[in-house]
């Protein structure tokens, strides 16, 4: 008996689209071409169903209860933690901390890990393409504790120069904070190489995976990375939740961040001791219903052949890149090899906001502005850009609609 040949990975985008009710709505009577998933992704019905079913059947507060619903809710919450662990291939669920989002995950590292270790003059290495969420927490340490920010430039095509990066890591470096995938350029950074270089100098690495976790396979053990932050709402999950992976040794050594219920061991009037990780970092009632939604979203995404989804997204990007290549009034910003499915551009004679307004009336949702990446805008000497970002549910029709709308905008504005 001969084995059947392994089928080619396939991805049925029309079937996937049917999972998202919002995609079949119209705006101003036009078909919706939602090209703003980089800001936030839409949520499939299974995610919304999971949250609603849980909330209307098994809901209670977690952890401290011994009654049935409290047990059911605790089981659901901890099962979600296991789902996140598996999604990132962490060694242990104790290395997964639920947060309110990607921003809080990074702030947690800043407040609970780095701040107590920073002396004036200590350096933090980051790139000019970071999102404000991976910039501002480090500015705090500069303002409050005299840390020095060492900015690594990107090349003109948006790619990272690993040698320049390496050179920025010195004996004074206390942390490398780098995006896994730029939300403006689409650049995917060589995390494994970065971690190797940083570790060779004894420096821990935090990856901002808010975009990367959506489009790349994350394996924190293979990366040997110290911290990895992701957010629920970009990965087809709910708002109000994110997660931080951190190596157990780091978590154990970290001081608490928010104080409140669940994160203590014992409290008296004049003494306090703290719970072990991850509870130590989850003060108060956590995003319980959202954890169920996040797990459903990760299950949904992993229900596809991830390589096929990635191929689909890259195909869209290539198709869009080709379509705009012939528009000599349009300048694409970010063309790094292997980049993710994000297309940022400037259009001659058209301000990004005017352009976005006109695209909007054609049903095309793009983001216009600085995309919470002002240092990157400065680097490319622009005030703002327009950005089309692709998700698994986008199609070539979306791209065609975008290109047609670009032409209309030019008709009106130029």
């Amino acid at each position: 008996m001969s084995a059947a040949p392994k089928p080619m990975p396939t991805f049925d985008v029309d079937a996937a689209r049917a999972d998202f009710d919002i995609l079949s709505r119209t705006v101003y009577g036009k078909r919706l071409a939602y090209l703003d998933s980089g800001a936030s992704a839409q949520k499939p019905r299974v995610v919304l169903d999971a949250m609603r079913d849980f909330a209307s059947r098994d809901y209670a507060n977690v952890h401290r209860g011994v009654h049935f619903l409290s047990g059911a809710a605790t089981d659901a919450y901890e099962a979600a933690r296991e789902t996140v662990r598996k999604f990132m291939n962490a060694a242990s669920v104790d290395e997964i901390v639920f947060t309110k989002g990607g921003t809080e995950a990074i702030n947690l590292v800043s407040y609970a890990f780095l701040a107590p270790r920073i002396q004036p003059g200590d350096e933090i290495v980051l790139t000019v393409m970071e999102h404000h969420s991976n910039i501002v927490p480090w500015h705090f340490l500069r303002e409050r504790q005299g840390a020095v920010l060492r900015w690594v430039d990107v090349r003109d095509d948006g790619s990272l120069d690993i040698e320049a990066f390496d050179a920025a890591i010195t004996a004074k470096t206390k942390l490398v904070a780098v995006t896994h995938m730029s939300n403006v350029l689409g650049t995917v950074t060589p995390l494994k190489e970065i971690v190797a270089r940083a570790h060779a100098k004894g420096v821990p690495v935090l990856a901002d995976g808010c975009q990367g976790a959506v489009h790349e396979i994350v394996d924190v053990q293979a990366l040997d990375i110290d911290f990895y932050a992701l957010t629920g709402h970009k990965i087809y999950g709910p708002t109000g939740i994110g997660a931080l992976y951190a190596k157990k040794a780091h978590l154990k050594a970290m001081c608490p961040f928010n104080g409140g219920g669940e994160m203590i061991r014992e409290v008296s009037q004049d003494r306090i001791t703290y719970a072990d990780p991850p509870a130590r970092f989850e003060a108060g009632t956590p995003p319980i219903i959202e954890s169920v939604g996040l797990a459903a979203a990760m299950d949904y995404l992993n229900g596809f052949d991830r390589a096929a989804v990635a191929a689909h997204e890259h195909d869209l990007l290539a198709y869009a890149r080709d379509a705009v290549r012939e528009l000599n009034w349009l300048r694409v910003i970010g063309d790094a090899p292997g980049k993710g499915a994000i297309l940022s551009f400037e259009a001659e004679g058209m301000h990004a906001h005017d352009l976005a307004t006109i695209l909007d009336r054609e049903g095309v949702a793009v983001r216009a502005g600085h995309h919470c990446a002002q240092p990157l805008m400065e680097r490319f000497a622009v005030v703002s850009t327009s950005r089309a970002s692709f998700a698994l549910y986008n199609t070539r029709t979306d791209v065609d609609q975008l290109v047609a709308a670009l032409h209309k905008a030019r008709q009106i504005l130029v």
Binding site: H353, D354, R361, A368, H370, Q374, M377, V383, S384, I412
Partner: protein, 151 residues
């Protein structure tokens, strides 16, 4: 093509945005303020020369921004030149009502006719702040120059 778009980006507006009146630095300015819209990064600086009677003897602006914000600044400088502070304030209130699609009865018929080119904005609530940035900046210039912004 969408009519409200045609109305928003009508020729007068585009002309103002491409060829802004009163653009530049005012050397003899008595008042000045910077305006900034953190949502899009648009900036405008408004320079004023107020005479003793509190009249706008001269006005200029400099800025970078979308067609709406540039056109609005250009139109504004055109309109405010020669007005008293009090008049300018009334004009501004009328303008704010107009772009939000509210009752702009406070405007004179002449002013209304001129500003009418911006009434299409009421269909684009997300862009109203682009149009009001210059006006808010003018106001803070008059009031002493704290940085204005619209968020």
């Amino acid at each position: 093509m969408d009519n409200s778009l045609r109305e928003l980006y009508q020729e007068v507006i585009l002309d103002h945005s491409r060829h802004p009146r009163h653009s530049g630095v005012l050397a003899n300015a008595t008042h000045k303020a910077d305006g900034y819209n953190p949502l899009c990064g648009d900036r405008v600086t408004v320079y004023l020369a107020l005479d003793e009677a509190g009249k706008v003897a001269d006005i200029k602006f400099q800025g970078k921004g979308c067609a709406i914000s540039q056109a609005s600044a250009s139109l504004m400088t055109d309109l405010l030149l020669g007005r008293s502070k009090e008049d300018a304030e009334k004009l501004m209130q009328g303008f704010l009502h107009l772009v939000k699609g509210e009752d702009a009865a406070g405007l004179s018929a002449d002013d209304r006719e001129i500003l009418d080119v911006m009434s299409g904005l009421s269909e684009f609530p997300m862009r109203v702040k682009c149009a009001t940035l210059a006006w808010h900046t003018f106001k803070s210039a008059v009031e002493g120059g704290e940085a204005a912004k619209t968020e």
